[in-house]
């Protein structure tokens, strides 16, 4: 029996090695026959295309373009994950609302969005919303505060003025004082039994100190208004319209899945918990915040992680409307005659690393949640 087990494993390993060898043999031969390199030296060659919104010239090297692509992918992930969590939790809770219309509207949202392919939603947002905005020259300008056209969205931004450094220090100090106030209110509440209102207190203290500092230093932060200058937008924070199209579409799509998870997790909390919370006269919000949510979250976190990973992988669909994330740049580079096998190998490696990083971060958070609640 042991011999048989060993034999089976040797055969399996051997088969994998042989297949890998044959494929490798074909790969190197075919690449050479096509006059393509078999190593990764080509990464230092110029990219040869213009990457919108990156400030990178077509002469920049391929690996720098890939880095820009990774940055653009991460820009979607970092902004998208918090957004989709907020929307998803809100809709999920709304589906269980006692308000009939709220529950039905949330249900309608979920049932429509999660049954349409995400790529189609991206196209729809892009063609039905983004491209309906006027062209650059006729941009919508709302009081020099917000400029929108079918290619860019620019909002007013902040710039550092003299004394910005000292002001940052004052803000840090205000944060410390606010923390102390928070602690003091908590202690007092535990001693006297009065309500602490610690959030309002801390926020108030922080705002007052920051405001005094701001005025005393003569306005260390200035506004940078976006300006339409001929064919370009200057100043402020400028984002590509394609970025927002992908972001909105994928957030709406993924949030519909998160909402279902949140709803299921809340329903999985035993009914007795809600009844007990009612019996000790907690308000509906307190009940959700202190009794139901902590228990529901524990059930919800693993499937929500997999939704985060799905979101991350779906950002690759931005390729379809020309947002320069890493898949699009790979696609363009291959189109420029660079060897596809190596490029795709790098691309897959990048996604694996991002996926691993996200599951690592969320797993650490998850472990802390589980410990706290147990």
């Amino acid at each position: 029996m042991r011999v048989l087990r060993l034999f089976a494993q040797v055969v399996a390993a051997g088969a994998v090695v042989i297949v890998a060898y044959v494929l490798w043999f074909n790969l190197t031969n075919n690449l050479r026959a096509a006059g393509l390199p078999t190593d990764f030296q080509f990464l230092t060659q110029p990219i040869g295309v213009d990457i919108p919104g990156s400030g990178l010239s077509p002469g920049a090297t391929i690996w720098r373009a890939l880095l820009i692509g990774v940055k653009n992918t991460l820009a979607l992930v970092v902004v998208g994950i918090p957004l989709l969590t907020i929307v998803g939790v809100l809709v999920g809770v709304a589906r269980l609302s006692t308000n009939w219309l709220v529950a039905k509207a949330a249900g309608l949202y979920v049932e429509i969005l999660r049954n349409i392919p995400p790529l189609l939603i991206i196209f729809f947002v892009f063609y039905a919303v983004v491209l309906q905005f006027p062209v650059l020259q006729e941009s919508i300008n709302i009081g020099d505060f917000l400029i929108v056209n079918n290619r860019y969205l620019a909002v007013v931004g902040f710039t550092a003025q003299p004394n910005f450094g000292p002001f940052l220090l004052i803000m840090a100090g205000a944060l410390v004082v606010a923390a102390v106030v928070w602690w003091w209110r908590t202690q007092r509440s535990e001693r006297t039994g009065e309500h602490h209102h610690r959030f309002l207190w801390s926020l108030g203290v922080f705002t007052i100190i920051s405001l005094i500092g701001f005025l005393a230093l003569g306005g260390p932060i200035g506004l940078s208004r976006p300006v339409l200058d001929g064919r370009a937008l200057e100043g402020g924070y400028v984002g590509l319209a394609a970025y927002f199209a992908v972001l909105i579409a994928l957030v709406l799509y993924t949030a519909s899945h998160v909402a279902e998870i949140v709803r299921g997790s809340i329903l999985a909390v035993p009914k007795g918990q809600t009844e007990a919370a009612n019996a000790i006269a907690l308000s509906p919000i307190q009940r959700l915040r202190h009794v139901v949510m902590p228990q529901a979250l524990r059930i919800a976190i693993p499937p929500i992680i997999s939704q985060y990973l799905n979101f991350t992988k779906n950002t690759s669909l931005a390729i379809a409307i020309g947002y320069a994330e890493v898949t699009r740049i790979t696609f363009q580079t291959i189109g420029n005659g660079q060897p596809a096998p190596q490029m795709i190998f790098i691309l897959m490696g990048i996604y694996l690393v991002i996926s691993l990083l996200i599951s690592l971060i969320v797993n650490i958070v998850n472990r802390r949640m589980q410990l706290v609640t147990q």
């Binding site: 399996a12 219309l101 729809f124 690759s316 669909l317 898949t327 596809a340 795709i344 897959m348 691993l356």
Partner: protein, 415 residues
């Protein structure tokens, strides 16, 4: 001395009955001030959305879909071969009918054995269950210019209904082979399109190609996924490592990277005289991708089989392979049915991705038709995308509802 048992007086809880519709509205929509605000805000938003939708529906020009309906449905399939898609539609309708009838007969027999009265499904319930599909078929037929498609569709419905009753009437011994009948009909449907001088899948398009990629992707990926799932549970470290490595690698990368590999890199690793067409390469990529996900679904099914089942099988002296085939697999696969439907839906939506690589299915068609001379520059993307979205929505929504129904019926997760 007798112990006086305390007598609890039964408290009659006064449940306030709803007094008419006004009372219901007050209780469910305006019970607190913030609910009242929410109700009004959402009602206003929904009204505006409905109004905008209605206005768009009235004003939009659907000529682009009317003219290109065939392109949306079957792509560039030769016009003189139209009988082929229809023949395959009839075969699939027959297959669905036979399978549904056979399942219904099984339920009937089980109910009569258990002595439970069988609650039959009424026509009204069928309509309620499948209203999106029925509505979609009506909408599509409304876009046709001749009466023939409508007549042929009614014919297909009749064929489906007839085979449903045929499936119900099948004797038990034949019913055991329903899956084989279904497979034969499915292969027949494929041959009707591609066999006997027909058109191979490389030239298919439209919705037909989406459906083909979904069905074929799942069918080819299933055996591979089953092997991977068993490999993942294997006690042999080498086989387990290979399986886990494959599954986790594929699940960590987006489908689009595999499709890119299929489109641009697969040609490099295959021998030089083997040059599969684009659709085939997409199908290979989809199969490799889907196998990893199916493996995870099947693993979930394995976990649903209690360990006692395997121990009992060992106790009665079944060999490992027989234990797998007769005890574990039947229970595990039954538990995976709802998740498999979920996987099917997800792949159905994912088939849209091959449009990025230039395969002309349903979604790609929405762009092709917009570059036709008659419609160029008219900005009809919203119309065509809306039509494609409706088709995908109906398919996914119906399947996900059926999957949830199945989940309740099978009682998965209730053990």
């Amino acid at each position: 001395m007798s112990v006086e048992t305390p007598v609890f007086e039964e408290l009659t809880v006064e449940v306030e009955p709803a007094r008419g519709p006004m009372d219901w509205v007050r209780k469910n929509l305006f019970n607190t001030w913030y609910n009242a605000v929410l109700t009004l805000a959402i009602a206003a938003a929904l009204m505006l959305a409905l109004l905008a939708l209605a206005r768009w529906l009235v004003g939009a020009d659907f000529e682009i879909i009317r003219v290109n309906l065939r392109l949306f449905m079957i792509g560039g399939f030769p016009a003189d071969q139209l009988w082929r898609p229809w023949a395959s539609t009839y075969l699939i309708a027959t297959m669905v009918g036979v399978v549904a009838g056979s399942l219904a007969a099984g339920a009937r027999d089980r109910a009569s054995e258990a002595g439970v009265p069988l609650i039959g499904t009424t026509f009204g319930q069928i309509v309620l269950r499948f209203w999106p599909i029925i509505a979609l078929v009506v909408i599509i037929l409304a876009f046709t210019t001749t009466i023939t498609p409508a007549l042929l569709t009614i014919g297909a419905a009749v064929a489906g209904l007839g085979s449903y009753y045929l499936g119900r009437a099948l004797p038990r011994t034949v019913r055991r082979w329903t899956w084989l009948i279904a497979l034969i009909l499915l292969v027949g449907a494929y041959l009707a399109l591609a066999g006997f001088g027909g058109v191979g899948w490389e030239s298919w398009g439209g919705l037909q190609l989406n459906l083909f990629l979904t069905v074929a992707g799942i069918m080819f990926a299933f055996p591979l996924g089953l092997l991977l799932a068993m490999g993942r549970r294997s006690s042999l470290p080498v086989i387990r490592t290979i399986s886990v490595g494959y599954i986790e690698f594929v699940r960590g990368v987006p489908l689009i990277t595999l499709l890119l590999a299929g489109a641009f890199a697969l040609g490099f690793i295959l021998p030089r005289d083997l040059r599969p067409g684009l659709v085939t390469r997409m199908l290979i990529a989809i199969t490799l991708f889907e196998a990893a996900y199916i493996a995870e679904v099947v693993r979930g099914g394995f976990q649903a089989v209690p360990a006692g089942q395997v121990e009992a099988a060992q106790a009665v002296g079944l060999a490992p392979l027989k234990t797998m085939r007769l005890i574990v697999l039947p229970q595990a696969l039954r538990a995976t049915i709802p998740a498999m439907v979920g996987q099917f839906i997800s792949l159905f939506k994912d088939t849209t991705l091959v449009a990025i690589l230039g395969v002309s299915h349903m979604l790609k068609t929405t762009f092709i038709v917009n570059s036709q001379p008659d419609f160029l520059g008219k900005g009809l993307f919203v119309v065509t995308l809306g039509f494609a979205g409706l088709v995908f929505w109906v398919g996914s929504y119906t399947m996900s509802r059926e999957s949830r129904r199945l989940e309740r019926r099978l009682g998965v997760g209730e053990r």
